[in-house]
């Protein structure tokens, strides 16, 4: 009887182990037969879009398993640098701005697009030359253009109405005048709601990018091309002085904004600032976080930054990766992107009117005036280092009240910052002599 019980236990164990082993084997086999694709994004708000694209591919690829890993941009950049140089495994669709991707392309760390994808990208019916060029290197296509960061003014219409302002500012001088009128103050005169939110602190290159956008309105640029792939700094001049002076004037003379005041989209959504310049994704953000906010958008006085972001594919035998990248640029998906996320798609010939009609705030991004001038970040290796260093210098300048009324000091500051940029360009062999 006892022996029988032991035998039963042994056979039960054997059965259980066999079942477990079999299940593990089968699951291993099924996972081996399933296609797995990883998407790396630097914008957490893009995750639902890539999941939507993956869902659309289910019909043709029922076994496709898409893992979307969308993290903060700076961490994403570190991940890409380590992943591509360390040899990441599997097929990965990587979202990168054209200027950042150049460094990887220079060092052959990303593969060329297959012929059909290259033909799709180069077709002027699909993409403007500006966008297909930023997805290419030395004339060869390496990525599929997806969306762009483009700036416009966001302004709180209730606050404008209360201040007696009927239309958005048209010149940079208007911006300061409007900011003064829009600033709300407590009894002591201290600003409680900023008239114009400016990027004044923090780390990273964002401060320099925002400064460049403002300086662009005065006709200036941090870097300008000088032929033969060479560049030089170009902001120690009148445009640079005007732009910096406007920042300092708003902080110290007009006192419309201070570094410690809440800023950016969060502040705008909470009614803590009356206006600010930002990309189109804020429209989607407002729809989610502050749907009752009364606001409008307007083009900037002269033009805007246009920072194209493309999809690149890494990994061997990456056909499914390219199929995903191409599917992301399908008209249906791009309309979904604009409507649900708010980033501006780069593809031409797509009818976005269903979205723009519903959300008039997109008008400033698509219906800009004739002669509106766009600029983008140069596709050169040290661009991030240059912007980060200019940003570090600007933070110091923004903290120097004595500079607000001293043009000579501003000029000296701009000369010093400009020299530092030229030193970096020289070190990398990119300085125009």
């Amino acid at each position: 009887m006892k022996n029988a019980s032991v035998k039963t236990r042994i056979s039960t164990r054997a059965l259980l182990m066999g079942t477990a082993f079999g299940t593990a084997l089968l699951s291993g086999l099924s996972s081996a037969s399933a296609e797995t694709l990883t998407v790396w994004s630097g914008y957490p708000e893009m995750a639902p879009f890539y999941e939507h694209v993956a869902q659309g591919l289910k019909a043709s690829h029922p076994d496709l398993d898409v893992k979307v890993e969308a993290i903060a941009l700076r961490e994403h950049e570190k991940r890409v640098a380590l992943g591509l140089t360390g040899g990441q495994e599997g097929i990965t669709v990587i979202e990168l701005s054209g200027s950042t991707a150049t460094r990887y392309l220079e060092n052959s760390l990303l593969p060329e697009a297959p012929d059909d994808v290259a033909a799709f990208v180069k077709d002027p019916k699909n993409f403007d030359k500006f966008f297909s060029d930023t997805a290419s290197y030395d004339g060869t296509v390496y990525g599929v253009p997806l969306f762009r960061g483009q700036g416009a003014l966001y302004y709180n219409t209730d606050m404008f109405k209360a201040a007696g302002l009927t239309e958005p500012p048209k010149t940079m001088e208007d911006y300061s005048k409007y900011a003064e009128k829009l600033t709300k103050r407590d009894a002591s005169g201290k600003a409680t709601v900023s008239g114009w939110s400016l990027r004044l602190s923090g780390g990273g290159q964002g401060i320099a990018e925002k400064f460049w956008i403002n300086m662009h309105q005065y006709g200036g640029a941090i870097l300008v091309p000088a032929g033969d792939g060479k560049w030089k700094a170009d902001f120690a001049n009148e445009a640079g002085r005007k732009a910096l002076k406007q920042y300092l004037e708003n902080i110290y003379t007009l006192k419309t904004v201070t570094p410690e005041m809440p800023a950016d989209a969060d502040a705008f959504e909470r009614g803590q600032t009356a206006m600010f310049i930002r990309e189109s994704w804020v429209i989607g953000d407002i729809a989610k976080k502050a749907p009752d906010l009364k606001y409008a958008t307007a083009p900037l006085p002269k033009g805007s930054i246009a920072l194209p972001t493309n999809l690149y594919v890494a990994g061997d035998d990456a056909d499914i990766g390219w199929e995903f990248a191409k599917a992301a640029s399908s008209p249906e998906n791009l309309v979904w992107l604009l409507e649900n996320v708010g980033w501006l798609p780069n593809r031409s010939g797509v009818d976005y009117s269903s979205v723009t009609a519903k959300q008039p705030a997109f008008a400033a991004f698509v219906n800009y005036p004739q002669g509106y001038e766009f600029f983008t970040l140069p596709s050169i290796g040290p661009i991030e280092e240059i912007l980060t260093r200019v940003a570090a210098q600007l933070v110091v300048a923004f903290g120097d009240a004595s500079m607000a009324t001293d043009d000579a000091k501003i000029n000296a500051f701009l000369k010093k910052a400009s020299d530092e940029v030229n030193t970096i360009l020289d070190r990398e062999g990119l300085l125009a002599k």
């Binding site: 950049e77 570190k78 640098a81 380590l82 602190s201 005041m261 989209a265 903290g399």
Partner: protein, 295 residues
């Protein structure tokens, strides 16, 4: 013969440990030293030897020099704040050992040391907030002008010193309590018989006798102070565009040069400078302990 066999056995027994130690501790240091002599771009295939050019560039790099000055101020600031406070708190806890609350005191002081850094730093970020923070509310209550704690170049460094000291204090107190427990009771009894008061015993007996502990805690605190990073990063960061002023510290500068600028060789030369600083501090500790041993 037996002695030799024992020796070989001992070597063989210790070899795996030595090999692991060499691989995970010594090799990275040696490799960092090597990298500092190259133009080692993480993405570039061409990584030429450039001798001491990275170190020469460091001498004129204002961001590195800012980081070095800030890090040094933070490290010594934490040291000068933590050591006297830890000594006094440890003495108070030790002399209340018989109290029912002794366990609570020890735990309360030690908890900040084990709390995860990021949520702790976020809490301090709120405390230092210029508009909504309780610190400014308190200042305002007493009629003192409110301060831009996280935006002023000097105050933002002080904020990091306070945060780091708050974290380092628990460990220092714990080590000091162990030190106090090992002090000979007879000396205190003799001092009491001679009419010494409590503070006099603390000043003339405890402090001199705890010198080795003070040296150990000092170096540990100073070395961790030179490695400050997350505190500066969290206090300056936010979801979007409204962060505090970024206090540049050495580790932050290294990370930026490595992964944003892809200049790993240059970042390695910064790491070498940090290594030299830490080594010098450790040597000072050893020499001071040795002097005490001879005395």
């Amino acid at each position: 013969m037996l002695k030799r066999k024992r020796f070989i056995f001992a070597i063989l027994a210790i070899l795996p440990t030595l090999a692991i130690f060499a691989y995970v501790r010594l090799y990275p240091i040696a490799d960092t030293l090597r990298l500092s002599l190259f133009k080692w771009d993480i993405l570039s295939r061409n990584k030429p030897f450039i001798g001491l050019a990275n170190f020469r560039e460091l001498t004129g790099d204002h961001l590195f020099l800012d980081a070095l000055v800030n890090t040094t101020i933070i490290a010594f600031g934490v040291l000068f704040l933590t050591i006297p406070m830890a000594l006094v708190i440890a003495a108070l806890i030790f002399h209340r050992t018989r109290s029912r609350m002794a366990g609570f005191y020890e735990t309360a002081v030690f908890i900040p040391h084990v709390v995860s850094l990021v949520p702790a730093a976020m809490a301090w970020k709120w405390i230092f907030d210029a508009r909504l923070g309780p610190l400014n509310a308190l200042l305002d209550f007493f009629g003192i002008p409110m301060q831009n704690w996280l935006f002023d170049p000097v105050l933002s460094v002080i904020c990091i010193i306070v945060l780091c000291s708050w974290q380092a204090l628990g460990y220092a107190v714990l080590i000091y309590i162990v030190g106090f427990k090992n002090l000979p009771v007879s000396l205190y009894e003799a001092a009491k018989l001679d009419g010494a008061s409590g503070p006099q015993s603390f000043w003339h007996l405890s402090i001199p006798m705890l010198k080795p502990i003070t040296l150990y805690v000092s170096v540990v605190t100073l070395v961790s102070g030179f490695n400050v990073y997350a505190q500066a990063f969290v206090l300056a960061s936010d979801a979007q565009g409204a962060p505090g002023r970024q206090v540049r510290v050495l580790v932050l500068d290294m990370l930026e040069n490595s992964f944003r600028n892809y200049r790993v060789g240059y970042a390695a030369s910064e790491a070498v400078v940090l290594l030299v600083i830490v080594l010098v501090l450790t040597l000072i500790q050893f020499s001071m302990l040795r002097e005490r041993g001879r005395a």
